[in-house]
C-alpha cells in the first residue's frame, strides 16, 4: 500500500480532544488505503516545561541529559495517539526514536538524522498494522544515547521518514492553513499559495516565515519529498494547505512568489578598513566565534587602499558583535577608523523562482520603494531573491507596496 507521512505539531496535539481530532484525520487517510506514518510533537507547553526544569537544575547543562529529559514529551503523545487510533479500531503502535531506530549524529540537542532503516516498521505494515506513530524530534546516537534534533525538529523527522519510506507525500499539520504571499498581519491582501517551490520556501523560511523548519525543507528538496503544509483546525479537503514541491511540479506561477521581512535587524559599518587580502576573514572570523549570525555583507569600492565594510545581524546580537570587533581590533590589526551602528533597520525581500527567467525584477522593486519615498541602505541579491535593508519605520509600507506592485493578491 502507498505510504503517507502525517506530522502533527504541538498545538495540534495540545490536549486529549485535539489528539482525538488529529486521529480522525489519520483515519480518513487510512480509509483511502494509505499505510500511515504519524509523527507527533509533544503536547504544546510540555517541552518548554521540561526545558525549564533542565535550566533550573543546571544552567550549563550536559546536552546528553538535556536530550534524555526533553525528548520525553513526544513519547507521551506517541503512545496516546496510538491508543486513540486503536480505540477507532485502526491497528496502530507507537515507536520511540531508539526503537525505529532513527540513527543520528552525536551532536546532542542539535543532532542530524543519518539513517532510518525502514525494516522494522515495514514488517509491521506487512503484518497488518496500518499506522506507525513515531515520536518526533528524537533519535539515538552511535553511543546509544538519546539525541534531539533541535527545536522544530519534528518537521525534519517527518520529512526524513517520508524520504526513507518513499512516501507519496508528507503532510505537516500546524496551526496556520498554508504558506502566504506575505504575513497577513501586516498586509491584508496576503493570499494563500496553492503551491510553492522548495527553493522559494527555503528563502521564505530562512527570512522568518516560520511555517516550516528550514532543515526540513532542505531535506525535502534533496529527496524530492512532496510536502504539504495545512491546518489541523480546518475541514479536511483535497485543496487544503500549500504544497511545497519541485519547480517542475508548478505549472504557472507569479515571477515573485512572496514578500518576506525580518523586523529586528541592525546594521554595522566599519569605516576605513585596510583593503588587503584576508581582511574579510579577520573581521568575520571573530564574529562567527562570538556566535553572531551575520546576514548581509557589503563591501564598498576601495579608495586609497581603504574601504568601508557593512554587515547586518539580529539586533539583540549587536553588543556581542561590538565586543568581538573591539577585541579583534587589537589582536588582529583590523584597524578601522570608526564603527557605525544603526539599530533601527529591517530587511524586506522578494522571493521567486521566476526571477531566473525575468529581467528587471530588482529594478521594479527599487522603483516601487522610491515611489513610496523609502531609502535603501543595503542591497543583496541571489538567484531567486532580492533583499534590501531599510529604516524599520517603513517596513510595513514597503511590504504592502511590493505585494501590490508584483500583483501577489492575484493567482498567476
Amino acid at each position: 500500500m502507498p505510504i503517507l507521512v502525517m506530522k502533527f505539531g504541538g498545538t495540534s496535539v495540545a490536549n486529549l480532544d485535539r489528539i482525538h481530532r488529529a486521529a480522525k484525520r489519520v483515519a480518513l487517510e487510512v480509509a483511502k488505503g494509505y499505510d500511515v506514518i504519524v509523527v507527533v510533537s509533544a503536547m504544546s507547553g510540555e517541552t518548554n516545561k521540561l526545558v525549564d526544569h533542565v535550566a533550573g537544575t543546571s544552567p550549563l547543562y550536559d546536552a546528553r541529559e538535556y536530550d534524555a529529559v526533553v525528548s520525553s514529551g513526544e513519547n507521551v503523545t506517541a503512545g496516546l495517539m496510538a491508543l486513540r487510533l486503536q480505540e477507532m479500531e485502526i491497528p496502530a503502535r507507537s515507536w520511540q526514536g531508539w526503537q525505529v531506530p532513527v540513527r543520528t549524529t552525536s551532536a546532542h540537542a542539535s543532532a542530524r538524522i543519518e539513517e532510518i532503516p525502514p525494516a522494522n516498521i515495514l514488517t509491521k505494515f506487512a503484518e497488518g498494522m496500518r499506522v506507525a506513530v513515531v515520536a518526533g524530534f528524537q533519535g539515538i546516537s552511535p553511543e546509544g544515547r538519546i539525541t534531539t534534533l533541535g527545536r522544530g525538529g519534528s518537521d525534519t523527522t517527518a520529512v526524513a521518514f517520508a524520504a526513507a519510506f518513499d512516501a507519496e507525500r508528507c503532510d505537516i499539520y500546524t496551526d496556520v492553513d498554508g504558506v502566504y504571499t506575505t504575513d497577513p498581519r501586516i498586509c491584508e491582501k496576503a493570499r494563500k499559495l496553492d503551491r510553492i517551490a522548495f527553493e522559494e520556501m527555503l528563502e521564505l523560511a530562512s527570512l522568518g516565515a516560520k511555517v516550516l523548519q528550514t532543515r526540513s525543507v532542505e531535506l525535502a528538496m534533496r529527496y524530492k519529498v512532496r510536502l504539504r503544509v495545512l491546518s489541523s483546525f480546518e475541514e479536511p479537503s483535497e485543496e487544503a494547505g500549500t504544497l511545497v514541491c519541485a519547480e517542475e511540479d508548478i505549472m504557472e506561477s507569479n515571477v515573485v512568489a512572496g514578500v518576506a521581512y525580518s523586523r529586528d535587524e541592525a546594521k554595522v559599518t566599519l569605516i576605513s578598513v585596510a583593503d588587503r587580502p584576508g581582511i574579510a576573514a579577520a573581521i568575520f572570523g571573530p564574529l562567527a566565534e562570538a556566535g553572531v549570525n551575520v546576514d548581509m555583507i557589503v563591501q564598498n569600492i576601495s579608495e586609497d587602499g581603504r574601504t568601508d565594510m557593512t554587515f547586518s545581524c539580529p539586533q539583540d546580537q549587536i553588543l556581542r558583535a561590538e565586543q568581538a570587533l573591539a577585541a579583534a581590533r587589537g589582536s588582529e590589526a583590523i584597524g578601522y577608523s570608526d564603527l557605525v551602528v544603526d539599530r533601527a533597520v529591517a530587511k524586506v525581500s522578494i522571493v521567486g523562482i521566476g526571477m531566473r527567467s525575468h529581467a528587471g525584477v530588482a529594478a521594479k522593486m527599487f522603483a516601487t520603494l522610491r515611489d513610496e519615498g523609502v531609502n535603501i541602505k543595503v542591497i543583496t541579491t541571489s538567484e531567486i531573491k532580492v533583499s534590501v535593508l531599510i529604516d524599520r519605520k517603513y517596513m510595513e509600507l514597503a511590504v504592502q507596496a511590493l505585494h501590490d506592485a508584483f500583483g501577489l493578491d492575484q493567482a498567476a
Copy 2:
C-alpha cells in the same frame, strides 16, 4: 569501590528543590567512597497525570502503549538528577531501562525483572563515573517494547539493581522514617524499629503497612539484599531508618516485632455445605475467577456430612463474591443452605520471627483480647503470625492492648 543503591520515591523528587536535596544525600555517600546507583521515581503526581491521559484516551487500553506513556516520568527525573549531580561536580549520567538494559517479561504494566546485565554500568564506573542514575519502574521486553513493573515498581527496581551489582546496601528514601511496631496514628506508643527480618517485613507489608512494596522485600530476601528504609526529610545519620535484613543479622529482638491491622474486611460464611472432596475448590475457584482476594479461610468440623465454610475478603469485593457464589451455586452444586455476610470486621495480627521458638504467644494474644472484652470471630496462624478477625469497632482497642501486652514500646 563498593556499590550502594539509593532509591528516591516520588515525594523525595517532587520538585527541583527536593531533587537538589536528594542529590546532596547522594553526594554524602560518594564522599564516603561508594559508587552509587540511584533509582528514581517520577516527580509525584506525574505518573497519575499520565495514567489519567491514558484512561481519558482509551478506557480498555493496550498495555504496551500504557507502558510507553507512563514510563516517561521516571526518565525526566533521572536526567534531572544526573544534571544536578554534575552541577555538584560528581560524574553522573542517566540510564533509561532499555539502555541498561533492564530485561523483563512481556507482561506489560506488571512485568517482572528477569535480568540486569551489569556490564554497561560497571564499564562506566571503571572509567570514573561515580553515579548511575536509573529510571525506576521500567524495563524492556524480549520484543523490544518498554515495560513497567506495576505501581510501586521502583522499589523492586532498586532491589534488583542491588542484587545484580552485589551492592553493600539498598537505601529506600521515602516520606516515612522507618518501620514501626504498629501504626502511630492509632497507637501513640508505636516505636520505630532499628531492624526487622525480611519475613516479618513481608507479613507486615502484606497486612497493609505500605512502607515497601511486597515484591521488593521478597526479592531482597531471595538475594540477601540489606534494605534500609529511611526518610529523605530527616537529617542524615548512621542510625536513621529501619534495616530490613536476614534473621541472623538481628541479635536480639522481641518475640513479637509488630502489630498489624487491616480495617476494611468482610466475613462470609456459607452454612451447611456438603463435606465432600473438591468442595473447597468448587467454592474458591469461582471466587478467584471473579477477582475476589480471599484472605482467611476456616472450615469448621463436619456434622452429618455437612460443614460451614467461612472466609474473609476486602469489604468492597463482597458484592462480587456474592454474585460469584450465587452463580456457582447453580452450576457447581455447592448447595449451601444460607450465606451470612458480616461487613463490619477488621483483621488484627501479631508478627514476629521469635514466635518460632516461643510457645504461648497465641494464647497470650487471646487472653489479652478476652481481658478487653473483644470477641474473636476467626483465627488463622502461620509460623510467624497470628491473625484474628474481630468487630471493627474494637480494632484500635485491640491494637493498643496487644502493643502493650507484648512490650513493643520497649526495645528488646
